[in-house]
Amino acid sequence: MAVGLTGSIPDDQVLVRARGVTKRFGGLLAVNNVDFDIPRTSIVSLIGPNGAGKTTFFNMITGAYTPTQGEISFDGHPIVYLKGSKVKSRKPHEVTALGIGRTFQNIRLFGTMSALDNVRAGIHVHLRSHWWDSILRTPSMLNEELDTIDAAMGLLELVGLEDRADTWARNLPYGDQRRLEIARALGTRPKLLLLDEPTAGMNASETREMTDFIRKLRTELGLTVLLIEHDMRVVMGISDRITVLDHGEVIAEGTPADVRANPKVIEAYLGRGAAEA
């Protein structure tokens, strides 16, 4: 069921293409027959009331959940595909290697690893040295580690945490933890960055900083960003396109202005918030 813009974007400009994606948890239909396109270097938001299926959809893109039905492709590679009559999904680490990085709704850093090591763990997927290289500390392994440290420090600088490189992730202030999670996700060298409520729990100035930072990721690194966010100011201010989910279905899709004016959306979700805006 194509609503709005999905389907109207030329193939070569589509980074993620989802068709007929459905996820059932027992009797619960969490995501129902969703079609969804993400154009390259765009910032797309996924909004909807709690329990609308946003995070479930995220988890299907990253390979954490296998959809009950449907197909998802990323940059020309199938992520969810049919094998015979069975729906198959790539493993999360394979999806990460293809170029999808993500953050989590409730921060999931490696708490007792330093900020630097968290980012290095993100880069892990691109490292090639084997365990025997590690045991022998071969030159290729040592040089790779040096490159990794350089790259990780670069990413910490990008998010403004270069001074906290040796601090354990769990001892960083909340806002820094959010930024470290993004740095760790950038370590996987993503083409698509999935941010699950990046400004949750932030005050107004932190939120503004984060919004500017997400824009910077797109303009400077050429990233495509898919965002789940409840803060409507962030969503309306930053998104090129917005997709609204309710009860697992796409009820609206379009530019912020379109979505804001859509009566279905106002009814289902924005309600009074939109009236005030």
């Binding site: 959940y65 999360p92 990460t96 354990w168």
Partner: protein, 456 residues
């Protein structure tokens, strides 16, 4: 951040050059350590020297003194050799349980596999064949006889293979479930060795017999395999009668084990294990192939026990399945936990201390007690009672172990975190300290269930 700050030339030449450079840089490095923390560096240096010279000092000074003047509980050559054997095992188990956070209660199985590798490939047991390769045994002598430098790699390969085999079906299990499966594996392997003394087995397809075994004695049954060749280097045998030669071989193996474990810890594998231990789901989402990484932890951890077992069997010159009881798995685990899970130096200390208490101190105490009060039960019978009390006391007062890793200290103890943070020179934010390491993980049992749909 790391010791190496300059790029290293590639290839074997670069590697050798790097080793030479590292060796050349050692005096300067040592000087910096001395300047940074004088007491600690001096204590560690003294400890290292004591460890390396102990066998000779024991032989020349302590043993005659203990024999002729006053009996003191100095660990003898056999005890020290077993200290090295258990040290190797504790360091190996620490890779699985400490680095990767996978509880393994059947670690003794790999010890047994190593021992039987020695028994199969360096003994007259298979008398119907005669294979002598580079070994100090006359040609035509019955049985298979390989030298130690083939036995040890074989033990590594066999133990690692079975480690991976054990790992494969347990990959989706976490916590208690994993512990139960490894426990079962640890029971099966020794029973397997105990019972395969008379195999009669026929396999035929359409009247043509493919395999026919009549009463084949594979493992020697409850009697085990005896004798087993000692390891021999330059004509010196490392058997139980060879005194300090075997001790030094054990020390050499232990040093290799420490270096290997330490290098793994400081590599991308070490980080991946740490990530899995912290949050397996997040690790997978960040691109860590959790299946491969956990299998590698099992296989590499098992290979240490394989080496320890192969050395033990050749040292004793005999092996039986009775050596490989569940209690040995628990003993090694206690060494790891008491010493400080996750920290190589901690588990080393735990292994040395417990083996010493078990094999030297308690027997000595026993003879002293018997001399005074012959009716009092021998303290050697109480070894596990004593270890149990030690463990309970440790859990009450210092759950992170004697020499904890910083990570585990933070997870297990408020004080440990403060210590660790102060050591790191980082300000402690007291409102961030929590006893439970992963927030809801303490109560959320669903995270441990084998399930495709993980909580995200």
């Amino acid at each position: 951040m790391t010791a190496e700050t300059e790029r290293v030339g590639t290839g074997p030449v670069g590697w050798i050059g790097h080793l030479v450079d590292s060796a050349a840089a050692f005096p300067g490095h040592y000087g910096r350590l001395l300047a940074a923390n004088r007491t600690r560096t001096i204590v560690l240096t003294v400890l290292a020297i004591v460890a390396l010279t102990y066998p000779i000092v024991y032989q020349q000074v302590f043993a005659p003194f203990s024999r002729n003047v006053f009996p003191l509980p100095f660990p003898d050559e056999t005890t020290v050799t077993f200290m090295t054997i258990f040290a190797i095992m504790a360091i190996g188990l620490n890779i699985v349980a400490g680095f990767a956070g996978l509880l393994d209660l059947g670690y003794v199985a790999f010890y047994a596999l190593g021992a039987y590798t020695s028994a199969f490939f360096a003994s007259p047991h298979f008398g119907s064949v005669s294979i002598v390769l580079f070994a100090n045994v006359a040609d035509g002598f019955p049985g298979i006889h390989l030298p130690f430098w083939l036995i040890l790699p074989l033990a590594v390969i066999i133990a690692a293979t079975f480690g991976a085999l054990l790992g494969a079906p347990t990959l989706r299990l976490r916590g208690d479930y994993l512990a139960i499966v490894t426990l079962g594996f640890g029971e099966i392997v020794p029973i397997f060795f105990k019972n395969l003394a008379a195999i009669t087995f026929t396999f035929s397809i359409g009247g043509a017999t493919i395999i026919s075994l009549q009463n084949v004695n594979l493992t020697g049954g409850p009697l085990g395999i005896n004798p087993i060749d000692p390891f021999i280097i330059f004509g010196i045998g490392f058997g139980a009668t060879s005194g300090i030669a075997a001790v030094y071989f054990g020390i050499l193996l232990t040093i290799i084990a420490i270096v290997v474990a330490r290098n793994l810890e400081r590599s991308r594998m070490g980080r991946a294990w740490g990530a899995i231990r912290e949050d397996e789901t997040a690790a997978e989402m960040m691109g860590v192939n959790t299946v491969r990484t956990k299998l590698l932890a099992f296989a590499l951890g098992a290979s240490f026990a394989g080496v320890a077992g192969a050395f033990q069997a050749s040292y004793l010159g005999a092996t039986t399945s009775d050596f490989f009881q569940f209690s040995t798995s628990i003993l090694v685990l206690i060494m790891v936990i008491l010493g400080g899970i996750g920290n190589i130096w901690g588990v080393l200390a735990g292994a040395l201390a417990l083996t010493y208490i078990d094999k030297s101190f308690l027997p000595w105490l026993g003879t002293r007690v018997q001399a005074v009060a012959p009716d009092f039960p021998n303290p050697t019978q109480f070894n596990f009672l004593i270890f149990g009390i030690l463990l309970v006391a440790m859990m009450r007062f210092r759950p992170e172990g004697f020499l904890p890793s910083r990570q585990r200290a933070a997870e297990l103890s408020v004080h440990g975190l403060q210590d660790a943070e102060e050591e790191m020179g980082v300000e402690v934010e007291t409102d961030n300290i929590s006893i439970a390491p992963h927030g809801q993980a303490e109560t959320d049992r669903s995270a441990e269930l084998p399930s495709e749909e993980k909580d995200l």
